[in-house]
């Protein structure tokens, strides 16, 4: 603490330093660029407003149409449900991939290989056809008596076939994201937990995964927004209540495809924006201790030094450790 006492003495003796007030560097290129972009933007807006072929009155007519809004609801439900299932599967797959059990490792690898290696469209068509492959699902003792028999059509209707198709395909991609996240956590964290007598699943859940989430959340947000738009493929099942199908039907009926494409685009943008807000808060939650730490560090220690020394000079470097 001798450094700060020194400081106190010197600042008492010397006048406050004259702060630098330099002339800023000029950036004419920035102004030119901004002007060009502004002109282009005005032209774009003007053309949007003036061109009658956009049929804004049709947009206004359909944007809050009951069928469209219900379509948004179904699209959202498909997205949320299939992502929830995909995330659950992905955590399981990523844990299995890191397991000591070779059977778990290989089956996880195989799952990712299969579902990532075939088109999601093909998978959706397939799930729509499961009822043809297996008309009935029987529950019972293998090679023994049958306990329960259900028609596949009842169990796996178009909606659930769509959810399943989207979720299984997505789980393969997410599994790789989760694996990368788990790998990004320093091995020392696992060793420290092991040395404290923790083990396996508990270390994964309580120590590794929460820290991996920092790396996992941004690409998963990306995948969620991707999923929102992939739901437009559920027509392949066929599931016909989602936003894209509804707006397409309306467009075909009114012979005005453009305003209805804009209706669909508008709603996808709205939902994407809401998802982005959610992602922001999730990122903030999992960034605690790392992303938020630096900001807090500067302030309290700077505050402490300021209080301890009552030193008005803001340029005083704060000592790393103020002792005990």
């Amino acid at each position: 603490m001798s450094v700060t006492t020194n400081n106190q003495e010197t600042t008492a003796q010397r006048a406050a330093p004259e702060l630098i007030k330099a002339v800023r560097v000029r950036h004419p290129g920035r102004w030119l660029g901004a002007a060009i972009i502004l002109i282009l933007a005005i032209l774009a807006v003007q053309s949007l407003a003036a061109n009658p072929n956009f049929h804004w009155e049709t947009f206004a007519l359909y944007v809050l149409d009951a069928n469209v809004v219900t379509g948004v609801g179904w699209t959202l439900l498909l997205t949320v449900l299939s992502m929830a299932i995909a995330v659950t599967l992905a955590v399981l797959l990523a844990f299995m991939r890191q397991s000591d059990n070779p059977i778990f490792r290989w089956s996880s690898w195989f799952w990712v290989w299969f579902f990532r290696g075939t088109p999601v469209y093909t998978q959706l068509v397939f799930w729509g056809l499961v009822a043809v492959l297996y008309p009935k699902i029987n529950l019972g003792v293998p090679f023994g008596p049958e306990l329960l028999s259900l028609t596949t059509q009842d169990l796996l209707n178009a909606f659930w076939a769509a959810v399943l198709g989207l979720a299984l395909n997505e789980s393969a991609y997410l599994a790789e994201i989760f694996r990368a996240g788990l790998k990004s956590v320093d091995k020392g964290q696992i060793e420290a937990a092991e040395a404290l007598g923790m083990r396996g699943t508990k270390i994964m859940w309580r120590i590794v995964l929460p820290q991996a989430m920092r790396v996992i959340v941004p690409p998963t947000g990306n995948e969620t927004i991707g999923m929102l738009k992939t739901t437009s493929l559920v027509l392949a099942v066929p599931f016909t209540l989602d936003l894209t199908f509804v707006t397409n039907t309306l467009a075909n009926r009114s012979y005005l495809p453009i305003p209805l494409l804009i209706v669909a685009a508008f709603w996808y943008l709205v939902v994407t924006s809401i998802l982005m807000i959610g992602q922001h808060f999730i990122e903030k939650h999992y960034g605690k201790g790392i992303d938020t730490a630096a900001r807090i560090t500067v302030n309290p220690s700077a505050l402490q030094t300021a209080r301890a020394t009552a030193d008005p000079a803001p340029t005083t470097p704060t000592p790393e450790e103020s002792g005990r």
């Binding site: 320093d186 020392g188 964290q189 060793e191 420290a192 937990a193 092991e194 040395a195 404290l196 007598g197 923790m198 083990r199 396996g200 508990k202 309580r206 120590i207 929460p210 820290q211 999992y286 605690k288 201790g289 790392i290 938020t292 730490a293 630096a294 807090i296 560090t297 309290p300 790393e320 450790e321 005990r324």
Partner: protein
Amino acid sequence: MSPSAHSLSRPVSDASVKNDLVKIEEVHKYFGDHHVLNGINMTVKQGEVAVLIGPSGSGKSTLLRCINHLETISAGRIRVNDELIGYKEKDGKLHELHLKDIARQRRNIGMVFQRFNLFGHKTVLENIIEAPVQVKGHDKVPAKRRAQELLDRVGLAYRASYYPAQLSGGQQQRVAIARALAMDPELMLFDEPTSALDPELVGDVLDVMKDLAKSGMTMIVVTHEIGFAREVGDTLTFMDGGVVVESGNPREVIANPLHERTKGFLSKVL
């Protein structure tokens, strides 16, 4: 530190009889073809501070990590409290212990790492109560109270709500010591606890360790701090090339090393 002052603060039960807490017998360790540990024998008595020194690659950290089974040994036996670490012997055959039994053995052995390894997403207090609550099933409230006591002991009571990234290296290492102590271990392993610290922060960590030694904790310390070895150590072991070159009273070994290799090493670090 005089031996009499040392024994005063120890629990009464082992003030007179010092039994062997750690017994390392003919331990070998291979990493592939590399023979890292080549027949190590070592005993650490209850309440003793054993200091391990040696050049990097001499196997001292590996030996330490074998004691809580973070590394498996290739041959020999390690016993803590007369219990074989990592294995059980039945009908003259060794059986690997189940992970849950290895975890149970580790609860008794605290470890402090060179790079601290505090849990980055948890506050100082959460770091300390994690294992008592999750592993031992203690209630949160008394665990927090105890954590505060331990933080006070390492001089960081006012940092309980901070995240590790907000602390200096020296503070992080003191928290790491408190975290290990929260499990009430019988034995503490220190793996170069001050090697990653700025020179001016080393002293605070060593002070905490000295304090701990005075309270009678059995400690095995891998370090380059010869001053610490001389002042606090009950034994000093010099390792090189996977073997114990010499071992004995720290003050004697440092003052009159018998071996050329010990002399050479000490002349570099002193």
